[in-house]
Symmetry: C2
Subunit: 375 residues, 2 copies
């Protein structure tokens, strides 16, 4: 049986991309690499839907988050971090690590922060310089309405930063139009690459903030990356093979088209949710993201056993983290997956639920998913 | 014609390793990955010749250098950075970026710092907490005698940190015995992997320094890595495919044996140096490293043209950087290269020198190299 990764990242990688990366390595201080990197950067801007710049870091997504914090803030600045899950907490922790006075907006896990909540905090805390948010919170499966939040923040002299590590490509996101100063992402999600690259998209107007930033940094110093990118180079040795793969992955994505990708991801998520509901199961998040479907484990069912059985059946989901351990199961549907993989996931889920004693009428989830697909 | 990378990194990667990395990706929160990572960590300790711990970061070598600085120092500490090339300068710049009072030991490019120089600075500057050095300075081809420096530093309450990004595996280095608190390295050198992994080896006794360190950090916080490695995990998503490749590369290295690898690298470097001298060319460094051979461009020869011609002949060297631009040529001989590749490099060099009008007797460098190999 094949192993199918239905985790919200790392995701499966197209064979074509893996084989391209297996070709003889090229050196990065060459016209060949510079031409590749120039192409990649044009494609990245299309993928991020920006006229700004997208910088590629040799790091995981967390590294790119840290880069956002240390480049957007100066010593003594106040910041706001939305904490509605594990990755929202990470923003708070990074800010605190740099001694930033950080106001947390604590949101119940499973809910999204509202624009009103952000407005209230900004009105009550003059001097806030940046608000850190999470587009799709991978730990809960919640989507944040960044367009609406952008509308609010435009009225203040405050930067809006979002962690779109898993969400980018699965949901509409328009940094320039919505006023998102920095969008952070990573390679191992909708970009369909192995982990190892972090991305940070910076709007043109955001550079004045970066210029005044004086938090200590060297490797994360975006001014270095800006200077290098103008010569189609990186300030430090880039992970060349991942960049070769990125070029391939972006070709696949752009051939599909970003809007089509959003629509496909929405369809897959809708079909998955319909299937889940048809089995009498409940979705955990009130505001579900299209990156993953988070299911509340029903009373009397052992969440750990369900994850284990699913894995034995070749369907590889993620369980709950921290306070949600054993209470939810997360089925990711980004990366090298398509509409038909929904049927694999739901079939595996049905067989696993049956095996551990949850009662329902077999095939119902598939019927419901087909219904959505055919609409 | 094949392109042969004779750069001091990124280096050529064994086909076997590339193909292993092209296999379907595995998820990192699995027993399968944890077993792989446990194996890798045992092998890394053998490669680093340490009873301490080796941490793997998703970063370039510079990221691992920054991790060393922010974990070994506390606010207000003084540090010493040896500046005898581009990478020595990097230590200084990173320390300064974090507001560390940093005393530079400026060494003429092409020379190694002496233990006496370090002793003098330490005697003259009480309160220094760490000395940052470069084992093999890639920009000049110079080797530093870390054993002798370790002997000096043992007499002070000072940490010794070295950048062994390119040198590790090409020269004897015994962190535990020589008292090197932190050894920094990267994947794209003697480890024969693509770039994307940074390594940092930490001695057991060094943890008391890390505990008192309070420079701001999150992604580079080694305490997080230590906590995770105990469960065979990483605090942040690791570049899974590179770790799969690392496991393969380390198998190749350990099958050869570290001491045998040092001996082979020494032989290759000796043969290369003999060949260069036989052509009437001069070595640039007074204390040459086995990682690369740095040749002074003779009077009347255009260094840029030589590099260009070599590349056209399929031999890919590196030129000089900064103050050495056009004055030297650097031929790396680490990575997936062996004794016979020396003959390719020297043949390409002879043909290129001939083409640009340098006069010598053809074949002499090959004869000299063969002589060394046969001894």
């Amino acid at each position: 049986m094949k192993t199918r990764l239905f985790t919200p990242g790392p995701v499966m990688v197209p064979e074509k991309v893996m084989l391209k990366m297996a070709e003889p390595i090229i050196h990065h201080r060459t016209p060949e690499y510079e031409s590749l990197f120039a192409d990649v950067n044009v494609k990245l801007k299309k993928f991020f839907m920006t006229e700004g710049e997208v910088f590629t870091l040799a790091s995981s997504g967390t590294g790119a988050m840290e880069a956002a914090v240390v480049n957007i803030l100066a010593k003594g600045d106040k910041a706001v971090a939305v904490r509605g899950g594990k990755f929202g907490e990470r923003w708070y922790e990074i800010c605190k690590a740099y001694g930033v006075e950080t106001i947390a907006i604590d949101v119940e896990w499973g809910r999204a922060v509202t624009p009103e909540q952000i407005k209230k905090v900004l009105d009550g805390n003059p001097g806030v310089k940046a608000v850190f948010t999470t587009q799709s919170e991978t730990s809960t499966g919640v989507l944040t309405d960044l367009k609406a939040i952008g509308e609010v923040i435009k009225k203040y002299d405050v930067a809006l930063v979002t962690d779109a590590v898993s969400g980018l490509g699965a949901h509409e996101l328009l940094p320039d139009k919505w006023g998102i100063d920095m969008v952070v992402s990573g390679s191992q999600k909708t970009i369909m690459l192995p982990p190892g690259l972090g991305f940070i998209c910076v709007l043109k107007d955001t550079w004045s903030r970066i210029e005044r930033s004086n938090l200590p940094k060297y490797y994360w110093d975006l001014k270095k990356y800006k200077k290098s990118i103008e010569k189609n180079q990186n300030p430090f040795t880039p992970p060349v093979t991942l960049l070769v793969g990125l070029n391939e992955s972006l070709d696949i994505i752009l051939a599909e088209g970003i809007e089509n990708m959003w629509a496909r991801q929405a369809l897959v998520a809708k079909a998955m949710r319909a299937g889940i509901k048809a089995l009498g199961l409940n979705l955990f998040p009130k505001d579900p993201s299209n990156v993953l479907t988070t299911i509340s484990i029903p009373e009397g069912i052992d969440g750990g056993a369900l994850v284990k059985t699913l894995k034995k059946n070749g369907i590889f989901p993620a369980g709950g983290q921290d306070q949600l351990k054993g209470k939810i199961i997360r089925i990711g549907h980004i990366g090298y997956l398509d509409e038909y993989d929904v049927f694999a996931a739901l079939s595996g889920l049905e067989m696993s639920l049956k095996a551990i004693g949850y009662s329902f009428s077999s095939g119902e989830s598939l019927k419901a998913a087909q219904q959505v697909m055919s609409e």
